[in-house]
């Protein structure tokens, strides 16, 4: 009987092997084993989205994924957004539009918004709000986040023209 599982996953482009206790969530494995503390722990029940990561191209709450499940997976976390010292357009827009206050929700919003823009480069206000409904923010009141996502989307569209 084994209570640990060794998994190898590509995290932000780097192949990473982790030995994880089977009870460990992907969130804890990222934070405690891989040393990636960007994803945050809010509720541990799928309600807040602070732990959002992209798993095999799909947005998930990493608190509701077992680390043992992710062998062979591709994972994107907030740490993978910036290219070296150059921030991702979403990160720039969040700063410029003051879309954060305490910041605990921000990594989750950034990753969730990235997943949205990956599949829909020109989302409507309604689509943005709907897509981000699983990310909670107690500080900003969401309007500034909405603006930041729209501005980042516009910049991304302009830069890929």
């Amino acid at each position: 009987m084994s209570t640990k599982t060794v998994v190898t996953a590509v995290i932000n482009g780097n192949e990473t092997t982790m030995a994880c206790d089977n009870r460990m969530s992907l969130l804890d494995a990222l934070r405690e084993v891989a040393g990636l503390t960007g994803a945050k722990e809010g509720c541990l029940s799928g309600d807040c989205g602070a732990c959002s990561v992209i798993l095999n191209g799909k947005l998930v709450d990493s608190c509701l994924v077992l680390a043992a499940e992710v062998d062979g997976a591709t994972i994107e976390t907030v740490e993978g957004l910036a290219q070296g010292p150059t921030l991702h357009p979403l990160q720039k827009a969040f700063l410029q539009d003051a879309a954060l206050q305490c910041g605990i929700c921000t990594p989750g919003f950034l990753v969730a918004a990235k997943a949205l823009l990956d599949r829909n480069p020109n989302p409507s206000d309604h689509e943005i709000r709907y897509w981000l409904a699983g990310n909670l923010c107690r500080c900003t009141g969401y309007d500034k986040i909405l603006h930041a996502v729209k501005n980042a989307a516009a910049e991304l569209r302009a830069s890929t023209k």
């Binding site: 209570t3 009870r23 969530s25 709450d61 994924v65 409904a133």
Partner: protein, 291 residues
């Protein structure tokens, strides 16, 4: 905390063997959006998690005009939602599946997990019932089919026997001039559990005037979801006028035996069972006439 074993079998038979070998202590996991929350809160005592997502039979998703829809038990809601052939033909099911949780939850949650969790408020079960779904299950004793209407037997309890797991749903092709709809009432716009829910599936005569078949189910108003046969009967033969809709609503109110809790009182839920019955029929009717 007690140690946990983890397996991710890649064949159905291996999963069934493992599950039986573990007696009652193993937890089957599709998306884990119920299971992991329950394990964390201490509600589910589990020594071995069996991940079902790598089993091909549980990932089946296909539609055939003659045979209908096959939906593997572990298919995630976002995958079902993007499956174009199912959109109009099984509108009520897609509607229910798409209501489950946020984008993040949609990536993981399955219809199979939704019904195996056994909640009378589960957002896919009423639709499966009115669409006449069969649940294909397999265990050490072999395969059998359970009609969706009989799948839940009490809060958190299903008709699965010891060692059995849900493999897939089979839903017959929709008859001509038919359509379905599902809706729920929640106090917020989204991200909540149904206080009351209803699904309807109706078939019209070729001229679109008379109702020739109808089925109504209501959720969250009894220990299990309810197929309200009297509501269906009240509609058949009618032109689906206000009197027929009111008769169906009255049948739903009569069938409901809700509890009072922080989400709503008995009286309120009973009233809403009638309101949602009418609205679900109206949704289905509009679709059937439009189609």
């Amino acid at each position: 905390m007690k140690p946990l074993e983890f397996s991710a079998p890649t064949t159905l038979n291996a999963a069934i063997k493992l599950y039986s070998a573990n007696g009652g202590g193993a937890g089957l996991m599709a998306g884990g959006t119920d299971l992991l929350v329950q394990m964390r809160s201490g509600r589910a005592e589990i020594g071995h998690v069996i991940d079902l997502k790598r089993i091909p039979e549980l990932n089946v998703l296909s539609y055939d005009k003659k045979r209908g829809l096959r939906l593997g038990a572990a298919v995630a809601c976002d995958v079902l939602g993007a499956f174009k052939p199912a959109k109009a033909a099984y509108a009520a099911l897609i509607e229910g599946a798409e209501l489950i949780g946020s984008t993040q939850i949609q990536s993981r949650a399955s219809v199979g997990g939704n019904v195996c969790n056994g909640s009378p408020a589960a957002d896919t079960i009423c639709s499966l019932i009115v669409l006449g779904a069969q649940c294909v299950v397999k265990g050490p004793q072999g395969k059998r089919e359970i009609p969706a209407r009989d799948f839940m037997v009490g809060p958190g309890k299903t008709a699965l026997r010891k060692g059995e797991l849900l493999v897939e749903f089979r839903i017959p092709p929709p008859p001509a001039h038919s359509a379905s709809g599902y809706l729920r009432f929640i106090p917020r716009n989204e991200m909540d559990i149904a206080v009351v829910s209803a699904a309807a599936n109706i078939t019209l005569s070729a001229n679109g005037k008379t109702c020739t078949a109808a089925s109504v189910a209501i959720g969250a108003v009894a220990p299990t979801p309810l197929l309200v046969e009297a509501a269906g009967k009240a509609l058949v033969g009618s032109t689906l006028d206000e009197a027929a809709l009111e008769a169906a609503a009255a049948a739903s109110r009569k069938a409901a035996r809700p509890i009072s809790d922080m989400r709503g009182t008995k009286e309120y839920r009973t009233h809403m069972a009638g309101v949602l019955t009418k609205r679900a029929i109206a949704m289905a009717l509009q679709r059937a006439r439009g189609a």
